[in-house]
Amino acid sequence: MFRDEHADPGALRGTTVAILGYGLLGRPLALNLRDTLEARVIVGSDDDPSSRQARDDGFHVTTLAEAAAEADVALVLVPDEVQPAVLARIAPRLRARTLLVFASGYALANGLVVPATDLDVGLFAPRMGGDAIRERFLAGRGYLSYVGVEQDVTGTAWTRLLAIAAGAGSLRQGALEMSAREEAVLDLYVEQACGPWLGAAILSAFHVGVEAGLSPLGLLLEMYLSGEMSETFSQMARDGFLASSRAHGYAAAFGGMTRTFAIDREGMAAHMREVLTEIENGGFARALQDEFEAGYPCRAFIEQVIGEDDLLSRTEAVFRAM
């Protein structure tokens, strides 16, 4: 595990660090790095609202290509599917020996970008959402991340990468070494194998309970609105996944364990293997790139489901208005 003591805080002194993309991850990382590094931190963005936000935050803002041209270290913080197009635009402007840092291994792992051989290439992938990255930094706490060097032509890639991870506030907690390929597969696999089952469990429990006459608000409070469930996840991280069940009393362990035996784990595992195969063989990446290149034809459908004014969403609104 890399921690603050493994990083050289002066490694980027006097250099220019370009934040390419000022969205969910770009903004908190830019703010953290500006607060810690003895370097010039600039923002590259071709998106109007993001550029305006960065200017309001006091950054020198220019286009992605101009920022890349000035960079000694360039952090690629645009969405996964957009990275190939952005890299194609900025590649001719990147100077030799620049350290190109990706916050996700997706594009590298799927061969969607192939950085020039005169660049250093690294991965700094926070395991934390953007808002929490800034909040934890301001509170003096760290967050976990993955770091890795994919290409080191200068011999300084690790030193510069760890200076970025430390400056962004991650090494107060720690960073694990990981390749871009492994990070990409892990990230997508957990999102697509675990996330849907958790989501489907909550939706099904809600609708079955409502049909049986249970209170919609009571169901949502039990499952997530009260914050008890997020506290349980914190307990899992702190005390252990299995051991945390002791904190809920014997009735919870007796009932929960018994019911888990009865779940069709074979079917669940088969679905997860299919998901993993499609991620590992590049099928998911091809679908996502097709979706991007066609102008996001599925987005309206996905937004319609997310924005559906169904009983669950109406119940949440009732709770928020209380």
Partner: protein, 153 residues
């Protein structure tokens, strides 16, 4: 807080229409759907999911849509479909006639699509509106069949 009731069977189901008639109805739906897709859409569908099995657990009907670049056709359930769509016929009826949204039905667990993956979502979405329009036409026709020919003997 009001709770939306489960989808009611469509009127023609309540009048005693069973699985065979549902299969016949779906055959007409798929004929109309075929007419609504352009050659490019048909080609995309045939490449992404050449066989879609529809299961309607409230009627026992199972109908398979087979897509080729030339045409769509309806067959009784066959082997190895690319997707299996399972939903009550009542839900399809209510969505087609604007009484419920497919999104809400999906969230409530009334629709499952086995075999769905990110590589197929686009082609599946392509089908939804034309399918609902086709179902609406076919269901209206089924509920109000043409008047019998007058007796001229």
């Amino acid at each position: 807080m009001p709770v939306r009731p489960p989808a009611q069977p469509p009127e023609f189901l309540m009048n005693g229409v069973g699985g065979d008639e549902v299969s016949a109805l779906m055959g007409r739906v798929i004929e109309r759907l075929d007419g609504r897709l352009d050659p490019d859409q048909r080609r995309q569908l045939a490449a992404a999911m050449p066989a879609i099995l529809w299961e309607f657990p409230d009627t026992g009907a199972r109908v398979q849509l087979v897509a080729t670049p030339a045409a769509l056709c309806c067959v009784s359930a066959g082997d190895a479909p690319s997707l299996v769509v399972r939903m009550p016929l009542g839900t399809l009826h209510d969505a087609a006639f604007g009484r419920c949204s497919l999104a809400a039905s999906f969230l409530a667990g009334r629709i499952t699509v086995r075999g769905m993956s990110p590589t197929r979502l686009r082609e599946f979405i392509l089908l939804v509106d034309p399918l609902l329009e086709s179902f609406r036409e076919a269901a209206r026709e089924h509920s109000s069949p043409a008047a019998p020919a007058p007796d001229v003997s």
